[in-house]
């Protein structure tokens, strides 16, 4: 009898613990405070790719789709879509009953207006896709068709709020969009409405009760904290609830892991890479042998452990391994360019750069980089040490971002630089610009002077073919050329880290920490 009582008691306790382990119900109310590093330059997300603008304005506006934590496309302002078999026509059904924050009804005309007058003209990621549009046809107030000149595989991914936020036609039509007064006080369809912006201090949004999904937080507050270390401090003392990857100094991650009040998400669904542009316009870097020697001489594992605090994977190829389907084992850096000082030395000798009496080769390279980014500075220092071991002298030239952009892109005057690019969810969106022939002087594209017609045409095809398997084969072909030529040496695939207070729930429903704040709630 007594034993059976104990068993019964244990069963009850077990049942109780099962109940406790079930996910708690979202609670309405309260506010969340998110740290950002500086004021956004505008709140019109349609005219910029600036990170801070997206952090705030993604909750004010909506896109036709959003990307979930697995990287899959989900319906937003568009509830469904069909793509024609030739990949040239996309038909969208739009959500019914959606209202702008000022009470006006949202229609397909808003979508057409936004693409033709705003994002198609001004948005750095959307515009290249828009240039391939044949027409945007409004079929009814709630349906719309986009026809393309050539198929474009990543099109749906460019319809998120970050790439094509839908703007109100009735507010902007016929006016100067880039200087419109409502850019600082925007009208959207998103889960939060604009309320207040005290520059240098905070931005406050409040719940949009008319949003189609439940919104839990009363207010979403962005606190402007310029000092990286102080953003983490503010999280630790509970003054802010979230510091997203972009604003989180990686050196603090180990400490945060031990803090029971803080939760971390490691790894991000949207791949992003760090790499070294090698200015191939300049001798001896115009010689592929020399570039291959650099690839062999640079220790990517050391960079990952020492500069990135293990929050990265050593790069395995020209497009990394973040997109499994685009990775080609044939061009695996681990096989082609393992860290090997002897082979690097042999290649440099072969290239006609023998060591002098002091052991130094007649090569002096300037490494230009953004001084404000500690992991990049550490990476540059490791590369300098690695190359010294093969007799190459590297002068480190840290500079502030504005000057760095000029020295790398606008008026290229450098030999080596470490940069990081995000893929934007597809290699065609974010990575092609690393290798494709570029108009000289354009910021944030291929700055090496490398230009290969074959690579260009392969990349164009990879953007047009819809099936991933077929695209993977094209990337394998491009990878083969790029791994042999090494105009750019990939260094690492980043592992992003977002940090939140443990009381913040429902975060990370979207691929990006900036997305889907409607689902977030505070556990009291």
């Amino acid at each position: 009898m007594r034993i059976s009582m104990i068993v019964l008691l244990m069963a009850v306790v077990a049942a109780g613990s099962t109940v406790a382990a079930a996910p708690p119900e979202p609670q309405r109310g309260g506010s969340a405070v998110v740290a950002i590093g500086g004021d956004p330059e505008t709140l019109n997300l349609g005219i910029t790719t600036g990170y801070a603008v997206g952090a705030v304005a993604a909750s004010i506006f909506s896109g036709l789709v959003w990307i979930d934590a697995r990287g899959e496309i989900q319906p937003g302002l568009a509830t469904s879509w069909t793509v024609s078999s030739d990949g040239l026509s996309y038909a969208f059904e739009l959500r019914r009953g959606v209202k702008w924050h000022d009470g006006r009804a949202f229609t397909a005309q808003d979508v057409k207006f936004t693409m033709e007058q705003v994002t198609g003209l001004y948005h750095g990621r959307f515009r290249p896709a828009f240039l391939n549009f044949e027409a945007i046809t409004v079929m009814s107030p709630q349906s719309l068709k986009i026809t393309l000149k050539r198929p474009y595989a990543p099109l749906l991914r460019l319809l998120t709020v970050f790439d094509c936020p839908i703007l109100p036609r009735h507010v902007y039509q016929g006016e100067d969009i880039t200087r419109h007064s409502r850019n600082n006080d925007p009208v959207g369809t998103g889960p939060f409405k604009f309320r207040e912006w005290v520059r240098g201090d905070r931005l406050v949004l409040e719940r949009n009760d008319a949003y189609w999904d439940p919104v839990y937080l009363d207010r979403l507050i962005f606190r402007i904290i310029p000092g990286a270390a102080l953003r983490v401090t503010a999280l630790e003392v509970g003054e802010v609830d979230m510091v997203a990857d972009f604003y989180l100094p990686k050196t603090d991650v180990d400490r945060l892991k031990r803090n029971p009040n803080v939760r971390l998400r490691l790894g991000q669904p949207i791949p992003s890479m760090g790499f070294m542009f090698i200015n191939a316009r300049r001798a001896p870097l115009d010689n592929p042998k020399v570039r291959r020697a650099l690839a062999l001489a640079i220790n990517r594992v050391q960079i990952v452990t020492q500069a990135m605090g293990n929050l990265a994977r050593p790069a395995r190829g020209p497009f990394g391994d973040g997109f499994k389907w685009a990775f080609s084992p044939e061009s695996d850096y681990n096989r082609l360019y393992p860290y090997n000082v002897e082979r690097a030395n042999a290649l440099l000798d072969e290239a006609g750069l023998p060591r002098g009496a002091g052991g130094e080769r007649p090569v002096r390279l300037r490494m230009v980089y953004d001084a404000a980014r500690a992991p990049i500075a550490a990476t540059a220092a490791i590369i300098r040490d690695n190359l010294r071991a093969v007799g190459i002298t590297v002068d480190l030239q840290p500079m502030d971002r504005a000057v760095m952009i000029e020295r790398i892109y606008t008026r290229p005057d450098y030999e080596l630089t470490v940069q990081t690019f995000t893929s934007g969810g597809d290699p065609a969106i974010g990575y092609h610009r690393i290798y494709a022939s570029a108009a000289p002087g354009t910021p944030f594209v291929n700055a090496t002077g490398y230009s290969s017609q074959e690579v260009d045409s392969l990349l164009n095809r990879a953007a047009e073919v819809p099936e991933r398997a077929a695209r993977g084969k094209i990337y394998a072909q491009a990878s083969k050329i790029l791994a042999a030529d090494v105009p750019t040496l990939m260094l690492f695939d980043e592992i992003g880290v977002d940090a939140t207070r443990a009381t913040l729930r429902g975060v990370w429903i979207g691929a990006e920490a900036r997305d889907r704040w409607d689902a977030v709630w505070v556990q009291k």
Binding site: T48, G227, E406, T442
Partner: protein, 327 residues
């Protein structure tokens, strides 16, 4: 003030008129220096993806960057004369609006820091002078030495670690709480709580400076004959010290506060950045990083004008404090 001397108002007005060419010179020099600095504001502003070239061209036109530098300078100087400080590239707002929104916060921080420095510094200095050679004197000298040697941005971070993280007594960031929406007295108290750490960090160096100076001036003043006379008249020591000693020692202290005003403003850029204090110093720092030329020029001009006015006030205060000074 007295017969034979220029009236004070005329002196002050003369000084202000003299300041006009000086300030225009400041505008020109700053403009040239900033134009020489590399870095394109448009490229800095447009995010991490290549922006459409037409858009870049449009922004360059809008910002006037398609004009040659001398033309831009002439246009800028003309606008300044008309009282217009231009339009911020980064914020897309009039510079005057931006600066006005921040000025109050910076003055609150500076006035609090300087008052704190003066009160504590004078107190320490007087005490040290009075008990020369005592343990207290040594301690005051030690604190001064620390004040000279510790950089304020580093002290700021230490203060945050100790009082905000470790003890949890004071907020680490910002000018007021964002979760709660206080009004009236509660809002004032909330800002006061946020003010303590940045003001302490900013004041430390000047407190040290003032305490050293007060100690030295007091020691000198107290050895003068009039002090002996005052004591001989049987005045209580407290009065001798404050009315005769300190009043005579006050001139160098006023000098320190007056002429260091510009340095305090410069120091506030770092302290404001550490504490996320939305003041002019941080606006300046952000503008430098973003190559926001109109904001840089506007803030620098405003700082120069403030320094001119504060120096003038310091000179006038001299006359009030020391009957021997005449203008």
């Amino acid at each position: 003030m007295t017969a034979g001397s220029t009236p004070l108002w005329r002196y002050a007005a003369g000084r202000l008129v003299q300041a006009v060419p000086l300030l225009l010179g400041v505008v020109v020099v700053n403009f040239l220096l900033i134009s020489l600095a590399p870095g394109d504001p448009v490229a800095t502003l447009l995010g991490e993806y290549p922006a459409p070239p037409e858009y870049i061209a449009q922004l360059r036109r809008e910002f006037g960057l398609d004009q040659p530098a001398p033309m831009r300078l002439a246009l800028y100087a003309w606008n300044v004369v008309r009282g217009e400080l231009g339009f911020s590239f980064a914020y897309r707002l009039p510079v005057a609006t931006l600066v006005a929104g921040r000025l109050g916060n910076t003055f609150l921080l500076m006035v609090t820091a300087l008052s704190l420095a003066a009160l504590v510094g004078v107190g320490l200095g007087v005490t040290a002078a009075r008990r020369r050679g005592s343990g207290l004197d040594t301690a005051a000298t030690g604190i001064s030495l620390a004040g000279y040697s510790i950089p304020d941005f580093w002290l700021a971070q230490l203060l945050v670690l100790f009082f905000a993280v470790f003890l949890g007594w004071l907020p680490a960031q910002g000018i007021r709480s964002v979760r709660e929406e206080y009004t009236g007295l509660a809002a004032v108290l909330d800002t006061a709580r946020h003010l303590i750490l940045p003001a302490a960090a900013l004041s430390f160096r000047y407190m040290a400076l003032i305490s050293r100076l007060t100690r030295a001036s007091m020691l000198e003043a107290m050895s003068q004959d009039f002090i002996l006379a005052a004591r001989a008249r049987g005045l209580p020591e407290r009065l001798v010290l404050l009315q005769h000693g300190l009043r005579n020692a006050a001139l160098p202290i006023v000098t320190v506060i007056g002429y260091n005003f510009a340095f305090v403003l410069a120091g506030s850029a770092l302290v404001e950045t550490v504490f996320g204090w939305p003041g002019v110093g941080r606006l300046l720092y952000d503008a430098m990083l973003q190559r926001d030329t109109p904001v840089l020029l506007g803030v620098l001009l405003m700082v120069s004008a403030t320094v001119v006015v504060v120096n003038l006030l310091t000179d006038l205060l001299y006359a009030a404090l020391d009957p021997r000074v005449r203008y």
